[in-house]
């Protein structure tokens, strides 16, 4: 496959500029005290494995609990003592920590060099965790660029990357809440799509191994994102049909087995951790909290003022429309995207706290933004064919991005509440920054 445009300077320039803006926003957020230190809330429990492994050499988390918290993790950490064994079980898996490791090790070396406390929670560790999320988001955008440029013009690619970053809550999860898992999942899902696209283009054991690695990390980062792995087998169904796809997959059974073996190897340490803590390999790490599949809040998660995906990121309506177009890439993704996004929405809507607690927009969908990105690129390419379409879509995008940025600043300033927003409250603070 060859790029449809040879230069790619426009999309590269957009990404460099976007990286600079995101880095400046990160500094602004912490310099002005808009956010508490980066390792907070869910970010704490995603990160806590690193000091446990590299500083206290105690994967049970007990030594970290002793040092940070006098022996007992506070309730906000979602790290619970497992009934029966009394050992610590972290609600959040190890994937984020694995991906933060290079940043953590640099911070640890710098901490020792500067004589700060090497406990895993002082200055350099904090911003290593914060900047790791930003770096993986940027890496995810570069991966998206590689994927999109194989199928769309550079202009459509550049517009998609900019719109995705600034017109959704991705920018927020790359900067303000960058220690959460979403920036990492964004990168991983983008890479899954890119590798899947390459793998269906040609036989390659290397790509199969990489797909296994990424698939394992996806599950390690957020267990429910297992659903996204359906992209690998379903990728070409829309173009080739079910029978042809099954036949093609059978022919590549060895590569699929290789993929599965690598993924299993990557996931194994998590299962070992669960086993040492609970005596079981598969556990519900949230304890009593769980899903209510009989009463999903579908409207709530899609269109409500509280956290509705399309209310807070209306730009994504254009992405959905893009899948209806007959571009090859969007068409390839149509079936898996429909299956995965529907199932993902159902799972998110069935979670006991369907708003996902304190969050800007619905953070459960940030992981799926690379999928929406393909639809968005398809729409942008369609729009670029005629001037009238370009003008109309440009106006819509500018308005959607503008509203998203305004909402984000309102959230950072504490004008918008972290959850349970009502329509009267939304109207009362509309366009207000204080």
């Amino acid at each position: 496959m060859t790029p449809l445009s040879s230069g790619g300077r426009r999309s590269a320039a957009i990404l460099i500029l976007a990286t600079m803006i995101a880095a400046a926003a990160y500094v602004f957020i912490y310099a002005t005290g808009r956010a508490d230190r980066p390792i907070r809330s869910d970010g704490f429990s995603y990160y806590v494995y690193l000091p446990a492994w590299f500083i206290y050499h105690d994967p049970t988390l007990a030594a970290v609990a002793d040092d940070c918290c006098g022996g007992e993790f506070p309730p906000f950490t979602a790290i619970i003592r497992w009934p029966g064994t009394r050992r610590w079980v972290d609600a959040h898996p190890i994937g984020v920590a694995v991906m933060q490791t290079p940043f953590f090790l640099m911070a640890h070396a710098l901490t020792r060099w500067s004589n700060l406390t090497p406990d895993g929670f002082t200055l350099y560790y904090q911003h290593a965790a914060g900047l790791a999320g930003l770096a993986w988001t940027v890496a995810g955008l570069w991966t998206m660029r590689a994927l999109l440029r194989r199928h769309f013009t550079d202009r459509a690619t550049a517009a998609t990357l900019a719109a995705l970053l600034f017109g959704t809550s991705l920018f927020h999860y790359a900067t303000y809440d960058s220690s959460y898992s979403h920036a990492y999942s964004f990168f991983l899902i983008a890479t899954l799509l890119d590798l899947t696209d390459r793998w269906h283009g040609r036989r390659s054991r290397t790509i199969a191994v990489l797909l296994g690695l990424v698939s394992g990390l996806i599950v390690l980062t957020r267990h429910t994102n297992l659903l996204f792995l359906l992209f690998v087998p379903l990728y070409a169904v829309a173009n080739s049909g079910i029978r042809e796809t099954v036949h093609a997959l059978r022919e590549r059974a060895r590569e699929l087995l290789l993929m599965a073996a690598v993924a299993a190897l990557v996931i194994a340490p998590q299962l070992a951790l669960y086993y040492q803590a609970t005596g079981r390999v598969l556990v519900s790490s949230y304890g009593d909290l769980g899903f209510d599949f009989a009463h999903p809040h579908i409207i709530g998660v899609l269109v409500s003022v509280q956290k509705g995906l399309f209310f807070w990121s209306p730009l994504l309506v254009l992405a959905v429309a893009g899948f209806l177009r007959r571009s090859t890439m969007a068409r390839n993704l149509l079936v898996p995207a429909a299956v995965v996004l529907t199932a993902n929405t159902y799972v998110i809507a069935s979670w006991w706290d369907w708003q996902f607690g304190a969050s800007f927009g619905h953070r459960g969908f940030v992981d799926a933004l690379p999928v929406f990105g393909v639809g968005l690129a398809s729409t942008f390419e369609w729009a670029s064919a005629r001037r009238a379409r370009t003008v109309a879509i440009s106006i819509i995008v500018v308005l959607a991005v503008g509203m998203s940025v305004i909402h984000m600043i309102q959230y950072w300033n504490g004008v918008l509440p972290m959850s349970d927003l009502t329509w009267p409250r939304y109207r009362a603070v509309f366009l207000r920054f204080k």
């Binding site: 002793d66 940070c68 918290c69 006098g70 060099w113 700060l116 406990d119 002082t122 200055l123």
Partner: protein
Amino acid sequence: MTARHGLWLFVAAAALVAALAYLRDPPWLITIESGFRAWETDSRGVRARWTGGHASFFVPSGAQFVTVPLRTTFARHDDGPVAVTVTIDDRPADRVTLADDGWRAILLRLPAADRRRVRRVDIRVDRVRSGNRGVQVGEVLIR
């Protein structure tokens, strides 16, 4: 590798070395703390702040003595005594047990000044009160 690439590599390496040299002993380290809550003032006007399980701060390396006032609360019937361990640059400096809710000042004698501008003082507790509160630390006196 072209001459231009070599130049960029040299500039990057020089910047890294300069940054590391600066970060070895930066002047702003004296302002860095970790593990402390916000300051509170009690009804008698005494200012103090809670630590978590572990807190740290820096003092000038030229100082000879540091006095650290410590206190804890016994609000619940099962609140036991709190053992507090203090280290200076990771070397043991003092260990006290707070068995009542009165203030207790510990006097730390600092080793002779070394090549750094600051010394790090770490306070660790063996148990916390509800809400991850370790001990209350009052105004630290440095001589």
